[in-house]
């Protein structure tokens, strides 16, 4: 790996510091992937696989920490470490706005305030989730696909690090597609399950639709800026905004118009990757993958790439008001609609999946108001609490013998105390209760949205902001409700799984639900058959040496009672839950800082500040935050979210038979049906897009066979036919003529043959006749 500087020296900015080990952060997991992927099958012990996978991500995390520390030591306006490895694309010249550019795209990394944070998240959460996987995937250790899982996970970390650390948009796109591939591979990890394979493909293809927009977006950036390097883009945006108009492709419009177009195109990409309406449909299906995958890829990191992209290109979005409105609109719609979908799900992972879609909507709402730091902060807090929730649900699923239906759970609090504690903490965080992290991040977003309409007390901002705020508040209510419902159903009441079901709540798991997560029909089929479920659960812990942590329940109850999982699984859950609990103080709002000045205000926002484009100079006018901000805060954390939680508690905990919920469903069957069926969006896509495309393909295929190829074959057949007719003509006419001549000659010759008698007298007579004729003719003439 040579580290040559292939860009011209002048392209390396003064505000950037070279870093020689930066490349190792993404490449270590890549080497881990290669090692495990190529040799994993032959390794005798899966411990080696663990060491490679965890070691590579762990060292990568340490390197990230070192770089981050270095970043902190630098002055705020030059917090950027740059490393260019080699020229990736060098394609001669391109005609762009303003002339000819010989721009080269480098394989380069840039570690700055934003990518540094993201890299910390990816490697840090990545490491914890790798650790969790060593426990969760224990069954796979015996059937030879464990190495494959770990290799894919490492590949994912590599791709995600390329996405966040890349120094230009194409590097981001490299990571963008790479994480899509890993997502595809990991969703379809249990590929022998048809639905898992289908879900993987659905995720990939849906993302590809988003990439379509993303590609058009960055082509436009290339055309307008003549470059894809973040540094160059950031440097030239002010100049471009100052242009009176931009003419590209024979179309003249203001720079804002073009930025709006770019912003909307790129947002289509974000819709795909970050699961926004209308492209969110793949994410719930993606739950077919193993739970650590859901935690890492479909909650903490990959799905936030859209947010990262918008923050990275904030200088475009802030100059593109229409694009921002689009982001706000779709974000708030998603936040609300997905939250309602979460209300009626029974699959614990599906609830979390819709919750993720909804929370991503909140983040986009933040972006849509131009509050990039607020949106980004929610990315981080969400990563903590949602990863914790997913991993916790994974622990629950593993403990309950791959049961994912919450109706068949219950009472797990006593059996799995650590996991339940962690998940309850995370639930408070996601519900937005002070002082958990979700409060700080979500409240800030909702405040920014509201503030857009409130407009310093004038109430004259865009109506969209008000609508978005209302949708957001409703979404927040639903969030608090379904999360409490999840907790109540899973951890409270009595365990319903061991045949102990006084209210008839349990359901026969559908076959695919039972194996949604672990597709080992044959591996544990016999275990299920002879009823030794607890034996099976113990299999999970066999490779571990830490049985001391587990409650000794070998002869606990003669049922199928789950028990706490091994430390490898609960420790990451707990760490993430703790982060979710206290993480909010990293972006302590200014308004509360005035009340409690011990906590420094807005650390995160200030940290990101150098990266955020400023339209006008920042005025440090010290005006007090409006009273309404305090009012809304108090309302959200004291009334709004708690009332939702109490409502859910009242329905699902206070009344263990859930009769109130049943009564509600009986009262509004259609509403329930629609929500439960997720508004039939998938069915709509199938009927409106996929089906017609397939039918159209079939028609084209007939067209190809009968018309296009038909013409070719027709030409051939015509030629043959023509040849036949020619043959006939040839035989009957041309050859007939020849034969006719021959026949004629033959016939004539018969006459002449008579003449050739051989007798002299005859000849003399003919000669005489000839002479007579000649003389007669001469005489007449």
């Amino acid at each position: 790996m040579t580290t040559t500087m292939s860009l011209e020296p002048s392209a390396v900015t003064a505000a950037t510091h070279p870093g020689s080990l930066l490349w190792l952060i993404p490449f270590l997991p890549f080497f881990g992937f290669l090692l495990n992927g190529l040799t994993g099958r032959k390794l005798r012990s899966t411990k080696v696989v663990d060491a490679i996978a965890l070691g590579s991500v762990g060292i990568s995390f340490i390197l990230t920490l070192i770089h981050f520390a270095r970043l902190i030591g630098l002055p705020a306006d030059s917090r950027s470490i740059h490393q260019s490895l080699w020229t990736w694309f060098d394609v001669g010249g391109a005609h762009v706005l303003g002339g000819l550019t010989t721009y080269k795209i480098a394989w380069a990394y840039k570690f700055d305030v934003l990518s540094g944070c993201m890299a910390l998240l990816v490697t840090g959460a990545g490491f914890l989730i790798h650790l969790f996987s060593t426990g969760y995937m224990a069954e796979e250790r015996n059937d030879g696909r464990y190495y494959r899982f770990m290799a894919y996970m490492n590949l994912f970390v590599f791709s995600m690090l390329n996405l966040v650390l890349g120094a230009n948009i194409l590097m981001m796109f490299l990571g963008w597609e790479g994480v899509g591939l890993c997502s595809y591979l990991l969703i379809g990890f249990y590929f022998e399950k048809e639905f898992a394979a289908v879900a993987g493909k659905k995720a990939f293809v849906t993302n590809r639709i988003g990439d379509f927009g993303f590609m058009i977006g960055f082509f436009l950036i290339l055309m307008v800026f003549g470059s894809l390097d973040y540094d160059t883009l950031m440097g030239s945006v002010r100049g471009i905004m100052a242009l009176p108009s931009i003419t590209l492709f024979h179309h003249t419009a203001s720079p804002t118009w073009w930025f709006n177009l770019i912003g909307c195109c790129l947002f289509v990409g974000a819709m795909g990757k970050s699961a926004q309406i209308p492209l969110y449909v793949w994410l719930p299906d993606a739950m077919a993958g193993p739970t650590p995958v859901s935690a890492l890829i479909h909650a903490a990191t990959m799905v936030t790439s859209g947010l990262y992209m918008i923050t990275r290109l904030n200088f475009i979005y802030i100059n593109a008001p229409v694009a921002l409105s689009v982001v706000l609109l779709f974000g708030s719609l998603t936040a609300f609609v997905a939250a309602t979908m979460g209300l009626a799900q029974y699959d614990i992972k599906k609830v979390l999946a819709y919750s993720t879609v909804s929370q991503l909507g909140f983040m986009f709402m933040g972006m849509g108001t131009g509050a990039f730091a607020a949106g980004m902060f929610h990315v981080f807090t969400h990563a903590f609490f949602k990863a914790s929730l997913f991993l916790g649900s994974g622990a629950v699923i593993a403990a309950c013998h791959h049961e994912q239906d919450m109706r068949n759970m219950g009472g797990l609090r006593k059996l799995m105390p650590i996991t339940s504690l962690a998940m309850i903490l995370a639930t408070f965080a996601i519900a937005g209760i002070f002082p958990f992290s979700g409060f700080f991040s979500k409240d800030e977003i909702l405040w920014q949205v509201f503030n857009g309409w409130y407009h310093h007390g004038l109430y004259n901002g865009p109506t969209l902001n008000l609508v978005a705020w209302i949708l957001g508040m409703l979404g927040a209510f639903c969030t608090a409700f379904y999360m409490t419902r999840l907790i109540a159903m899973t951890f409270y009441g009595d365990y319903r799984g061991a045949g102990n079901d006084p209210y008839g709540l349990t359901v026969q798991s559908e076959a695919h639900h039972a194996h949604d997560d672990h597709g080992h029909a044959d591996a544990h089929g016999h275990a299920a058959a002879d009823g030794h479920h607890e034996n099976h659960v113990h299999e999970l812990d066999k490779p571990h040496d830490h049985h001391a942590d587990d409650p000794e329940d070998h002869d606990f109850v003669p049922g199928h009672h789950p028990h706490e999982v091994s430390w490898r699984m609960w420790l990451p859950v707990l760490i993430l839950a703790c982060l979710a609990t206290v993480g909010g103080f990293l972006n302590y709002p200014e308004s509360l800082h005035r009340i409690l000045p011990i906590v420094p205000a807005e650390l995160f926002t200030k940290w990101l500040e150098p990266l955020l484009y400023q339209v006008a100079p920042v005025v440090h006018a010290e005006h007090a935050p409006p009273a309404i901000e305090y009012g809304l805060m108090a309302w959200a954390t004291l009334v709004w979210a708690p009332s939702a939680m109490i409502l859910a508690w009242w329905i699902y905990k206070v009344d263990p038979s859930w009769s109130r919920a049943k009564a509600f469903v009986a009262r509004f069957p259609n509403l329930y049906r629609w929500v439960n069926a997720k508004y039939y969006v998938d069915e709509f896509y199938e009927a409106a897009l996929i089906g017609p495309t397939k039918r159209f393909s079939a028609q084209l295929w007939s067209f190809d066979t009968w018309v296009v190829d038909g013409m070719v074959n027709g030409a051939a057949r015509f030629t043959v036919l023509w040849a036949h007719s020619m043959h006939w003509v040839d035989q009957k006419i041309v050859d007939g003529l020849v034969n006719g001549v021959a026949w004629l000659i033959q016939q004539t010759s018969l006459v002449f043959r008579r003449l050739q008698s051989g007798r002299f007298q005859h000849y003399a007579f003919v000669m005489f006749l000839g002479f007579l004729v000649f003389a007669f003719w001469k005489f007449l003439a």
Binding site: S10, V91, G92, G93, G99, G178, F191, M234, L611, L700
Partner: protein
């Protein structure tokens, strides 16, 4: 040891033919001799071609290692050979694919071994010849000779409808060749009329461009159409593509590999070598029609591929779509587009060969190519699944693999020239992901049947012939610069020939460097109004 020179180039080119002559003397029954003998010849030919990669002068657009011997002086025919970067890349691709095509035949060819390997070797020389020739007469000769071995390969060792497919391939492409010949002769006689000499050399043909530009519009359009149809059949472009699925489906695996990797490239190569430089004016005139056919091809090929039940047919239709992408790049007439188009020719040669080889693997084991007969193969054939996955990803343009570089550069190039065309083509890429992954899912994933459970994974020979493809796919994906450098100067020359205004625009390099230097500071709001004006002035430059 070996340095790149004309002699070595000729040796590498004709070595397969000589090998065929030697093998001719070996008695029929010696199967191993033919297999390993022809493999050895191909490998040596490849090794001999390697020095050219290093010896090529990347700074020059001239034809290198050029040499010409008088052949038929009265007609102005010379035996002229030499290569520039464009032909070098395709020539190297051919020598590279050669050993792979032989190696994959060992188990699939079960009868008439002697003839098979002889024809393969003859075919190899004919294809290599096309890329080194610098004389139109010689070019046409190689171009036509190539068809004969291909005809026999399909007609003897092909599938159930082999005769139909072989004859269709032969006649269809011959029809195109004849049109091309007419155009060549027209230019040849025009040249004599204007300059007074008979000359078949390629350089003199390209030098005819300004004279042709003075001819009547009808003449130019007819010339362009003759070339276009000739090459479009070979590419193949919609609606001249229907010979391709038949030929691919019926051909033996190696035949499909060569067909996809090299033979189709003859068409695109023809566009680059003849149509664009000789008839730039008429090409631009007809561009809307060419572009329409190209775009239809991209979408149409992808859609039709989607519903194929036969894996080989699916890959064949995907070729129609992918070569449409190549053509889109070439038609952009700017460096991004042409380089992307050329690179995508190589990429298609690698990834589609890989896919055909992959289909061949399961066909040899199960004697069926129907997607419905498979499922869950990942379980019984993990190595195969990995390689198939890599080739699929390469074909659908995943970053880190070669396909992405090609498609990305093509789209960036065509976006500069025809933004809407690029948008439509991007749709084709979405469909590409859909049909390839759908096939992969149905073949490799899902529940496995007992008969598929017994299928054996790749053996060492199979891994060995896949390995080079995988390595090159990653190499081009991660570090395409060496390849780009080889074609840099010739593409520059081509753009000058076909789109001379391109390089006249003002250069932006200094402004961009300044912008990069400003970097993060550009995010800060200017303190005072007069500072604001400074960067604005730089960008103004020359607008469109």
């Amino acid at each position: 040891m070996f340095t790149a020179n004309t002699t070595l180039m000729l040796v590498a080119t004709f070595l397969p033919f000589l090998g065929a002559l030697v093998l001719l003397l070996v008695p029929k029954g010696q199967r191993k001799v033919f297999e390993y003998g022809s493999l050895a010849v191909m490998i040596v030919s490849f090794l001999l071609s390697v020095p050219f990669w290093f010896g090529y002068d990347r700074g020059s657009a001239a034809v290198q290692w050029f040499q010409a011997w008088t052949w038929i002086p009265t007609l102005g025919v010379k035996f002229a050979v030499g290569m520039d970067g464009i032909s070098l890349l395709l020539w190297l691709l051919t020598t590279f694919i050669g050993p792979i095509a032989i190696a994959c035949s060992f188990s699939s060819i079960t009868e008439r071994h002697k003839e098979y390997y002889l024809w393969m070797l003859v075919l190899q020389t004919a294809m290599l010849g096309v890329f080194i020739t610098q004389d139109m007469f010689l070019f046409y000769l190689f171009w036509e000779v190539m068809l004969v071995p291909m005809y026999f390969l399909i007609a003897i060792w092909g599938g159930p409808q082999k005769l139909y497919a072989a004859i269709k391939l032969f006649l269809y492409t011959l029809a195109g060749s004849v049109l091309m010949l007419v155009a060549i002769l027209a230019i040849y006689f025009l040249q004599h009329k204007t300059t007074g000499v008979y000359d078949f050399s390629l350089a003199s043909f390209q030098a005819m461009a300004p004279i042709i530009a003075q001819q009547s519009k009808t003449f130019q359009i007819l010339m362009a159409l003759a070339f276009f149809i000739g090459f479009a059949i070979k590419v193949p472009m919609f609606p001249f593509h229907t010979w391709l699925p038949d030929a691919h489906v019926q051909a033996p695996t190696a035949g499909s590999v060569i067909l996809a990797a090299i033979l189709l490239k003859m068409g695109t190569y023809g566009f680059v070598r003849f149509l664009l430089p000789i008839l730039p004016g008429a090409t631009k005139e007809l561009m809307p029609y060419f572009l329409t056919l190209t775009l239809i091809g991209i979408i149409y090929g992808a859609l039709v591929a989607m519903i194929q039940k036969d894996m080989k047919k699916l890959v064949a239709y995907s070729s129609v779509s992918h070569l449409g992408m190549c053509m889109l790049g070439l038609f952009a007439l700017n460096p991004y587009g042409i380089k992307g188009g050329l690179l995508q020719m190589l990429n298609h040669g690698i990834s589609t060969s890989g896919l055909f080889l992959a289909v061949g693997i399961v066909y040899e084991r199960r004697h069926t190519r129907m997607i419905a007969d498979f499922g869950g193969l990942s379980k019984s054939m993990p190595v195969y699944a990995t390689i198939f996955m890599i080739m699929t990803m390469s074909s659908l343009g995943l970053p880190l693999l070669n396909g992405f570089i090609g498609e990305g550069v093509i789209l960036m190039g065509s976006f500069q020239a025809f933004p809407w065309a690029a948008v439509v083509a991007t749709l084709g890429i979405i469909l590409g992901a859909a049909y390839l992954l759908w096939m992969y899912q149905r073949v490799m994933f899902g529940p496995i049947t007992p008969v598929n459970e017994k299928m054996e994974d790749l053996n060492l020979r199979e891994v060995l012939y896949f390995a080079p493809l995988v390595i090159v796919a990653f190499w081009i994906g991660m570090y395409p610069k060496p390849v780009m450098d080889v074609m840099d100067a010739p593409v520059r020359k081509l753009v000058m020939q076909v789109n001379p205004d391109f390089y006249k625009a003002e250069s932006l390099a200094a402004q961009q460097a300044e912008a990069a230097r400003v970097g993060m500071h550009g995010m800060e709001a200017p303190e005072a109004p007069e500072v604001q004006a400074a960067p604005a002035g730089m960008i103004h430059g020359g607008g469109h």
